[in-house]
Symmetry: none
Subunit: 154 residues, 2 copies
């Protein structure tokens, strides 16, 4: 439909591809709207351009969420399994990170030290010493700054 027939294969010229995308995207979204009105159908359309921009349509009086729920019931395909797994995996990962930090924190507070090797204890002591050193530096600097401020205000 247009000045010439085109073959259905990837348009190599990127400008043309973008223009065609924009036109056809509008076409599909319009058709989707029309069929949903004309035929009382529930329609959900999600389109990503190759640049990753999102366009979507969903029939009035429903929602993508509802349509997809129906899709799952109807097709038996589970859409969320993958997502589910990845979420669970992320939770596990973060929880592990959490546990590690929890333990490190407790150690730095001098708790739960019984299971540690002497070498580990030494490392913790070094960390604490280091922390104290840094902190004291900071406190000294603060104090100096305060003194200077007071001095300047005289």
């Amino acid at each position: 439909m247009g000045r010439g027939k085109i073959e259905i294969k990837r348009i190599e010229n990127s400008t043309n591809r973008q223009v065609t995308f924009s036109k056809r995207r509008n076409g599909i979204l319009k058709k989707a709207r029309e069929i949903s009105v004309l035929c009382d159908a529930e329609v959900g359309v999600v389109i990503f351009s190759s640049a990753g921009k999102l366009y979507d349509f969903c029939s009035p009086k429903t929602s993508l969420s509802k349509i997809l729920e129906k899709y799952q019931t109807n097709s038996g395909k589970i859409l969320w399994d993958e997502k589910h797994k990845s979420l669970s995996a992320e939770i596990d990962r973060i929880k592990k990170e959490n546990d590690t930090m929890q333990i490190e924190l407790r150690h730095l507070k001098g708790e739960d030290l019984n299971s540690l090797q002497p070498k580990e204890l030494i490392m913790i002591e070094e960390a604490l010493d280091n922390g104290l050193t840094n902190l004291n530096e900071k406190l000294v600097i603060n104090l100096l700054n305060q003194l200077i401020s007071m001095w300047l205000m005289l």
Copy 2:
């Protein structure tokens, strides 16, 4: 497009509606396929007839699941059920906990102290002192135990 122009409103004659649905459904699915090939777009289409029958399309090399995941990331809209919401909520919660601990750890190591109030610095110092005290107690006990062991082995 056809022998006569039609108004875009629900087709009352149920036979016509069904026929039109069938034709237009094919049209949309074809267009979806075409744009995905021509323009390298990711497309997902789900259509339910008014009778509840399901038709769908998804671009090759991806899956509805992946497209919808991307949709959510991109639009910020949440499509899935309560379980996913609760998983997402848990991730948020754990991440916050994580951040808090991260900060506390850095503080105990004497890092990122600039934004802190003197009072907070003092509290950190107390925590560090406390940790050192506990740790040293532990080290002393360990040493004693070791000595006792050696003593007993004599």
